[in-house]
């Protein structure tokens, strides 16, 4: 087995083992279930930003597309979890296709602004159509609706394994992309899109595919979050949720498969422990982020790859 495959499958196995061996306390088990789902969101973001070099400031749109497609279909249409997931998947593909097609008419800073604007439109729509979405208040998905293949997804242990399963699929998919010729073309576009064009690649089409893959993974993360944690709210469509995946990816290492996981764990626990110390925890978080930026500007895993392990995908 190649060493990069070994490391990534090893990371998944370790996360299974931590639960099987009962090493997690209830508190950390809940935290990690949340981190794993949010990491899936980070993986989606990383495909677009880390591999293709397109910086989106509106990814909360894709996350909330999956979140609301799953949540509203369960709440209003009595869909079961399987049906809700399929709908969320299809809706995420459609939203990514449309937004990608429109936003990719711009480049650079304009792309950032356009994606931000689209995401703000979605956020305001969620608030405006409060009769359906329940606006700021959000929707609570009842425990009885969160059953999949006779498994109660609200049970903390089942929730953890479910989050880990979704995470594992997305991580392996991301690894496949990173090792495939498709992934190399994305990297080539990130490095020099003109050059990729000169080699005969339809750069615009590859970028669109990257938006669709990225948006769909983000949508799957949103749907999983709503179903596993039972809450669908407008705050997930707001600007901070577009910034979080950027931070996780930057902290962990843009363009590395495990980077989003490392970034999400780091950020989550940094906030958690800092808020124990002081109410002004964001000062500590800010200083820590500053230090990481100064001394590991490629992110934690990105720096390790640059210095010691250039084979890490």
């Amino acid at each position: 087995m190649k060493r990069d495959l070994f490391i990534h499958l090893g990371a998944i196995a370790l996360l299974f083992l931590l639960e099987i061996l009962g090493i997690f306390s209830d508190y950390h088990q809940g935290n990690f279930a949340r981190i794993l789902v949010l990491t899936v969101y980070g993986i989606g973001y990383n495909v677009l930003f880390g591999y293709t070099g397109l910086l989106s400031l509106g990814h909360a749109l894709f996350f909330s597309a999956g979140l609301y497609a799953a949540g509203l279909s369960i709440y209003h249409l009595d869909y079961n979890v399987g049906q809700a997931l399929i709908l969320a998947f299809c809706f995420s593909v459609l939203v990514s296709l449309v937004i990608g097609y429109l936003a990719l008419r711009t480049v650079g800073v304009s792309f950032m602004i356009v994606t931000l604007m689209f995401s703000q439109i979605a956020y305001l729509c969620i608030l405006y159509f409060g009769g359906i979405t329940r606006g700021d208040e959000g929707i609570v998905i009842q425990q009885s609706s969160r059953v999949f293949l006779s498994l109660d997804l609200s049970d903390p242990t089942i929730r953890y394994y479910s989050a880990l399963t979704v995470f594992s699929f997305c991580l392996v998919f991301n690894l496949w992309i990173a090792r495939s010729s498709f992934g190399r073309v994305l990297i080539a576009i990130r490095e020099n899109s003109d050059r990729a064009l000169m080699l005969g690649y339809n750069v615009q089409l590859y970028k669109l595919l990257a938006v669709i893959i990225s948006g769909t993974i983000s949508g799957i993360a949103g749907a999983s979050y709503g179903i596993l944690f039972g809450y669908v709210g407008a705050s997930f469509a707001a600007v901070p949720y577009s910034i979080f995946p950027l931070l996780w990816v930057l902290l962990g290492g843009a363009g590395t498969v495990l980077g989003p996981l490392i970034g999400a764990i780091f950020m989550f626990y940094l906030i958690d422990y800092a808020s124990d110390v002081t109410d002004a925890y964001m000062i500590i978080v800010g200083i820590a982020l500053l230090l990481v930026t100064l001394f590991a500007r490629r992110g934690l895993l990105g720096e390790l790859r640059y210095r010691f392990f250039p084979w890490i995908p």
Binding site: S181, R184, E191, N192, D194, L199
Partner: protein, 231 residues
């Protein structure tokens, strides 16, 4: 093979190339000479479809390519090595070559053939291309363009900034390609770099052709050429 007729190119509304016409045949090396800003690189970019507004005709193997999308041009068999190499610096030598291949079948065979031409790259397959020396980067840029098995190769100042041993290696490769029947359109600023390999020479000034001749005639009477390029 390549037939450029009355080519005019615009950046915004400014006319950069003015009614340029020339042809390049199979196994022929045509050299474009001229000062900085004369329009040499713009000519290559126009052929590759990388310029928005182009007038006139560019035909390749009797097919009009001046109106097709830029990503389709290499698929017609035209390779381009731009000035400054422009490698994918975070990818390895091997990955850079594979990227060049992806639109063609028989990949491994093609790469092996290209590596035979540049054995030094064979020793550095797993090395990240950004860490190669300038000469090796130029070799890789050329090798990558050859991975699409071009029948026409556009080279933009391939010897710029290289040490003499590398220059002679690049020159040898160009001659080898010429022998294999590849048509080559070569942009250079230095006359001495091209006299031994060019068949035809064109001098561009302010976007227009001001002089054209065969290399043989120039060799016999180089003063004619020097008058235009001010050496």
């Amino acid at each position: 093979m390549l037939e450029v007729s009355n080519l005019s190119t615009y950046y915004s509304n400014i006319k950069i190339l003015k009614d340029i016409s020339f042809t390049v045949q199979r196994g022929e090396v045509l050299c474009l000479l001229g000062r900085n800003g004369a329009g040499k690189t713009t000519t290559l970019k126009s052929i590759m479809g990388l310029v928005d507004k182009v007038e006139g005709n560019i035909n390749f193997n009797n097919e009009r390519i001046s109106k097709i999308s830029a990503h389709l041009v290499p698929k017609k068999g035209i390779g381009y090595v731009p000035q400054g190499r422009r490698l994918f610096s975070e990818l390895t030598v091997e990955e850079n070559l594979e990227i060049g291949l992806l639109t063609r079948k028989n990949g491994e065979q093609t790469i092996n053939k290209v590596l035979e031409m540049f054995p030094r790259l064979n020793e550095r397959l797993k090395q990240v291309s950004g860490t190669l020396s300038g000469g090796e980067q130029q070799m890789l840029a050329l090798a990558r363009a050859l991975c699409i098995e071009p029948t026409l190769l556009l080279l933009d100042e391939p010897t710029e900034g290289l040490q003499p041993s590398m220059i002679s290696l690049i020159r040898k490769s160009v001659l080898e390609l010429k022998k294999q029947g590849v048509a080559i359109l070569l942009v250079e600023q230095r006359v001495e770099a091209i006299l031994s390999i060019a068949d035809k020479i064109i001098v561009i000034e302010n976007g227009a052709i001001v002089f054209s001749s065969t290399a043989q005639k120039i060799k016999n009477n180089p003063k004619k050429l020097y008058r235009f390029i001010g050496v």
